[in-house]
């Protein structure tokens, strides 16, 4: 009986989400604690799973026990999950950030929900189990179905506040469905060319028959999958839905979406890119990795530029996230271990940073009704702890040594130099300077008037908000301090990725 822990990690939020509508019929106030317990249990199980995988290495889980009666190397008959070190690290990050977001969502959730708060928490748990499925999936069609679960719950959660949020949610739905359909078209082309849906089997087919790699069907499949994932990870030209969605979403949902949705899509593309296609894939003689690097560089620079010109705080942080996706793509596409390890480490850091920034933006709105950058000054008087958290996260976004952000960027730059892509190094530096610029604009607005505005009395921030901002700031510093073992861990993942 193969190692069941990954399925248990998935089943905890999934079964809780299924039973919540039944439980919520009578005991409406039970659903938030129940959801919190489920996600914390999932967090503990994910840590145990990480330790188990580090001790015994990768395990595969074939659903329905189907590899028994066949001669195929991989279980390409049934659906399979791959529980390798990268997936277990992503599971730990996913579940811990989800639990912090749920703790944060206590006071900040929309109040006008009434009896529908049960369904609100059901959708949050469905979103988390959908993302867990994408992280662990070993079957390309399974990734599509999990993407749909996560996407549908995200559309509804974004649309809760009503009014303008509905229009933004509709736009997010149209672009999200377009992305999912392009991904499905990619799956269809791969299935037509090789006849299998299992990632391991697909990789073996592509390795066995080299002429398949340059066949037009596989190239079209790769392109469509890249466009599909590009929309899901909000890569620059396809990012139209992200700023509106994250700004108009309820303040409790923005950190959950910002920290997890684009990062898991990026993880999915990295898995397909390196574990299925192998790093040597070409689209018509243009090396895919260099194409990826150019697109990433463009996204990093333009994302930071757009963030500079924003007035709304949440919209500025959303554009910051888009620029970081570009940065990670630069690192992934250098093709050597340093940059790959650096970009995966930066992916984890960015998830924590985005969550922290949206915690602070949400608490500013919750306590001081501070929507735009100008009226953030009231934050200084009202809650100095938030300013402390903001400073730590800003240091990490820019990349100053004690925080984790620096080490990620540093390894990406080292890898780019190693691969002699100096335009990539230039793009990373320009993006850093622009990030510095828009945070400088933010801090000037906060600390400009030297005298403390008298009317702003000291507001006692809600304990759970203070807890979540503290946890993310400490996590960023901890990631920075013990970054060396983590980077070494990612280096041997890069080896398994064929670097």
């Amino acid at each position: 009986m193969s190692y069941p822990l990954p399925v248990i990690i998935f089943l905890i939020p999934f079964l809780t989400a299924i039973c919540l509508p039944m439980v919520g019929l009578k005991k409406r106030h039970w659903c938030r604690p129940l959801a919190l317990i489920a996600v914390c249990a999932m967090c503990v199980a994910a840590v145990v799973n990480l330790l188990e995988v580090l001790a015994h290495g990768e395990t595969r889980y074939a659903f329905g026990g189907w590899p028994i009666s066949t001669s195929f190397p991989a279980a390409s008959i049934g659906v399979e999950w791959v529980n390798d070190p990268l997936a277990s690290v992503m599971l730990v990050v996913l579940s811990s950030l989800a639990s912090v977001c749920l703790i944060y969502s206590g006071p900040v959730s929309p109040q006008s929900l009434g009896s529908r708060v049960v369904l609100y928490y059901t959708l949050i748990l469905m979103l988390i189990s959908g993302l867990t499925g994408i992280v662990l999936a070993g079957d390309i069609f399974n990734v599509f179905v999990f993407m749909e679960v996560a996407a549908l719950s995200a559309y509804a959660l974004v649309g809760i506040p009503g009014g303008r949020a509905l229009i933004v949610a509709f736009r997010y739905l149209i672009l999200g469905t377009l992305g999912a359909s392009f991904y499905l078209l990619g799956v269809v082309f791969f299935y037509a060319a090789t006849g299998t849906l299992n990632m391991a089997d697909l990789a073996q087919q592509l390795a066995d028959k080299p002429e398949l790699m340059t066949s037009k069907a596989v190239i079209a499949g790769t392109t469509f999958m890249f466009i599909g994932f590009g929309i899901k990870m909000a890569l620059f030209p396809l990012h139209g839905w992200l700023p509106g969605a994250y700004t108009r979403a309820p303040d409790a949902i923005s950190p959950l979406l910002a920290a997890l949705m684009t990062k898991v899509a990026l993880y999915g593309w990295v898995r397909i890119m390196f574990w299925v296609l192998g790093a040597g894939a070409e689209i018509g003689q243009i090396h895919v990795l260099s194409l990826l690097g150019v697109l990433g560089a463009f996204a990093a620079v333009v994302g930071a530029l757009l963030a500079l010109s924003q007035q709304d705080v949440k919209r500025m942080f959303a554009y910051g996230g888009i620029s970081h996706v570009g940065l990670i793509l630069i690192g992934v596409s250098q093709g050597n271990q340093t940059a790959f390890a650096g970009s995966l480490f930066y992916l984890i850091n960015d998830a924590v940073m985005q969550a922290g920034l949206f915690f602070i933006a949400g608490s500013a709105i919750y306590h001081h009704k501070a929507q735009t950058v100008d009226d953030l000054a009231s934050l200084r008087g009202g809650s100095p702890w938030m300013i402390g958290g903001l400073i730590v996260l800003a240091l990490s976004m820019i990349g100053i040594p004690p925080t984790g952000g620096f080490f990620g960027k540093w390894h990406i730059i080292l890898g780019a130099i190693e691969a002699h892509n100096y335009w990539a190094v230039a793009a990373v530096i320009i993006a850093t300077i622009l990030t510095m610029a828009y945070f400088q604009k933010l801090f000037v607005r906060i600390f400009r008037d030297t005298h403390l505005p008298s009317d702003v009395e000291r507001i006692e921030t809600h304990p759970s908000i203070r807890f979540s901002v503290a946890v993310t700031s400490i996590a960023i510093i901890l990631l920075g301090v013990c970054s060396d073992p983590i980077i070494r861990f990612f280096r041997d993942i890069a080896v398994s990725a064929g670097m």
């Binding site: 069609f141 549908l152 509804a156 009014g163 509709f170 739905l173 469905t177 377009l178 359909s181 269809v188």
Partner: protein, 131 residues
Amino acid sequence: MIEHIVAGLQRPNFVAFVILFLWGFFVMVTHPNLVKKLIGMYLLQTSIIFLLVTIGAKKQSTVPILQAADAAAIATHEVDPADYANPLPHVLTLTAIVVQVATLGVSLALVAAIYQKYGSLDEDEILKRIE
């Protein structure tokens, strides 16, 4: 280049897929009316499913349901896969059709809520009413 495209035109199914896919994509992205966008989305998704099933189809093959007469043949493993259609694309299609209707349900709920709030289905009209 030209003979590649002419070779492509030899496949009526693929040509039908290309026409439906591009037209649905065009209407879904550019049409101002919200419900018309959803009709375009519906056509886009059905065209992808259409391509998926044409890949699974085989000439002179029956429906993949093993009749009792084949029970003897199956017992001795001589089921010839060539005379049954490929069942895997049908499974993926069943899932994709139901995903398509689920997405349609949620999008129509959003359209209904938008109409309830802004009283119009036309995108430009709604944008005017936001200010």
